[in-house]
């Protein structure tokens, strides 16, 4: 199997995203003799969970855990004669429901496919607090990526703060690699959520993985402070210290509990946000998830989106973790094979059945977990009036509140007035926070924020990369009018 090469002009199946979902789809498809092309913006296939090393070698499992090895296994199962994995390749637009636009090495191209599987995954969700724009403050994923891909620590004295089980792999990996973890802060006070899962016998693998992390943490001498969160990052030019405080179950700060911890690195992690931009450009319908307070891509029982021939797998369908993503890759690939008129081989049928069980158990567990770690509205008291919310355009909360009040919580109006969410990242970072801050001013308390309009290119590109698609009469890119 070749990577980093330019993709062909057409293929049977195009997979966007080379994480657990996209790779497992490609493995099944190439095994069935169908030509498949996988595109990924990263330098190496693997996505988040299987994140591979970019170096000559990889860190040992004693530091990074079993995920890289599992990723290498899966990549090895993809049949070279039927699959191309093009890395360093960003999908930035769509021409029609069967043709997408990408850029690689500074040059754009198009690729058409009989069917598309969207496996674009997720990135981290962030909550703005004073000082969070200081160098030295990063997402936990940034530190994990730096360690797994390059064997580099983000700093020497590290504080980790946020909520959810992702805090555990990150802290064990960093500590095993030699970082000093000055504090690990979990916002939630609920230690016993795993015990309230229904049908616990369905989740044996998850419990085993969790117990593994707890055992490693004990060996590394790591302690998690429950009901604790960062309230401020302190420093002049870069981070010097982190102020943390205790929080009650409603996510209100408990007065008199603040303490300051010297640190050069603060890592935050508040769950994940799906990458739905390409799905939006393709015109796929979304669904609102009230627990995650986010729009995910809607799919039917076959994992087909509302667009015929466009399927999905993994985190863009709902945050579910690596097992669900891998299982959905298999399910989507099996559906695509049938869509293209192939009969499933007996082995593929078996794989599909096993994947279907993994998926339903995994989604059930994830639902319970995400509910247990759901953020309460009070958490946004962390964001003070002069705290920058939109990092790209340096928009403070005060301006967002002002316009949200004036426009009765109309998301689009607030964005246009403040430019929050209109900068280089196109709202991927601040979108969640802006939506949550603005909706407080809506008359209907349960109003659902409108999803962002997806624009081409989905990430900033050089002019020469988009030039062939520019439409002078529009003063921009030719519009695709497929958004619902």
């Amino acid at each position: 199997m070749t990577t980093q090469q330019r993709p062909p002009a057409s293929t049977d199946v195009l997979v966007i995203g080379a994480g657990p979902a996209g790779l497992s789809a490609a493995a099944l498809l190439s095994d069935a003799g169908v030509n498949v092309v996988v595109l990924d913006e990263n330098a190496r296939p693997g996505g988040q969970y299987y994140r591979q090393s970019r170096l000559a070698g990889s860190l040992p499992e004693t530091i990074v855990g079993p995920s890289q090895e599992a990723g290498r296994d899966l990549i090895g199962k993809i049949k070279a004669d039927h699959a191309t994995i093009s890395t360093d390749t960003l999908v930035w637009g769509v021409e029609d429901s069967k043709t997408i636009l990408y850029t690689q090495g500074g040059h754009s191209g198009r690729i058409s496919a009989g069917a598309i599987i969207l496996a674009t995954g997720a990135h981290e969700r962030v909550i703005p607090f004073p000082g969070w724009t200081l160098p030295g403050v990063m997402t936990a994923g940034a530190a994990q990526t730096l360690l797994k891909a390059q064997g580099i620590l983000p700093g020497k004295q590290v504080v980790i703060a946020g909520t959810g089980p992702f805090l555990y792999p990150v802290s064990t990996q960093l500590a095993a690699a030699g970082a000093e973890l000055a504090a690990i802060c979990e916002l939630s006070r609920d230690r016993f959520w795993p015990l309230r899962v229904k049908q616990p016998y369905r989740h044996f693998h998850i419990y085993r993985e969790a117990l593994g992390y707890l055992a490693r943490m004990r060996r590394l001498g790591l302690h998690v402070s429950m009901g604790t969160s960062v309230v401020e990052a302190v420093g002049d030019v870069a981070l010097r210290a982190v102020v943390v405080a205790e929080f009650d179950a409603a996510h209100s700060e408990i007065p008199g509990t603040r303490r300051t911890i010297p640190a050069d690195t603060l890592l935050t992690s508040f769950s994940f946000v799906p990458n739905v931009q390409i799905a939006r450009l393709l015109g796929c319908e979304l669904r609102w998830d009230p627990v995650q307070q986010a729009h995910f891509v809607k799919a039917d029982g076959q994992l087909q989106t509302s667009r015929e021939g466009v399927y999905l797998a993994g985190e863009i369908a709902g945050i579910g973790g690596h097992r669900v993503a891998k299982a959905e890759g298999i399910l989507a690939a099996a559906s695509v094979l049938e869509h293209l008129g192939h009969r499933l081989a007996p082995e593929a049928v078996q794989k599909r059945e096993a994947a279907s069980r993994t998926r339903s158990a995994g989604r059930q567990f994830a639902h319970h977990m995400l509910k247990s770690f759901a953020l309460k509205p009070k958490i946004f008291d962390l964001t003070k009036p002069d705290t920058i919310v939109c990092r790209c355009e340096s928009v403070p909360r005060r301006e967002i509140d002002y316009h949200a009040e004036m426009w009765d919580g109309a998301q689009r109006a607030v964005k246009q007035c403040t430019r929050a969410g209109m900068g280089r990242c196109q709202g991927r970072m601040c979108g969640f926070a802006v939506a949550q801050l603005v909706r407080r001013y809506c008359a209907a308390a349960d109003s659902i924020p409108a999803p962002d309009t997806a624009r081409m290119p989905v990430k900033p590109l050089a002019l020469r990369e988009v030039a062939p698609w520019l439409d002078p009469t529009q003063g921009g890119l030719r519009p695709t009018d497929q958004t619902p």
Binding site: E41, L55, H123, I152, G178, A238, I388, C425
Partner: protein, 100 residues
């Protein structure tokens, strides 16, 4: 010299890149952000709006906070750019009076 690289991994033959005119050691496969962070340099640029410092934030190509100049091309994501021998990097925060 600060070096935040973790020991037990094969890295291949190191080479130098130029960071605002200074030679800085890099290993094959490392990103510009990786090389800067490994050397303890986490301040990359200042914002145009507020003049405040920024560095790597998302580490995976999403936030566009890690912008530096690469071989004369402005505003490239340090976290997504692989180092090559002889590459010239301008870290805006190290040049006077530059905001991005």
């Amino acid at each position: 010299m600060i070096d935040l690289r973790v020991a037990p991994v094969k890295r291949g033959q190191p080479f130098d890149i130029s960071v605002n005119g200074m030679p800085v050691r890099a290993y094959p496969g490392e990103t510009v952000a990786g090389v800067l962070l490994a050397a303890g340099m986490n301040v990359f640029r200042k914002t145009r709006e507020t003049g405040r410092e920024r560095g790597q934030f998302c580490g995976m190509g999403v936030c566009y906070d890690c912008l530096v100049d690469v071989d004369g091309q402005r505003s490239q994501r340090a976290c997504m750019t692989a180092c090559k021998p002889g590459m010239t990097i301008e870290v805006p925060a190290l040049s006077k009076d530059r905001a991005e």
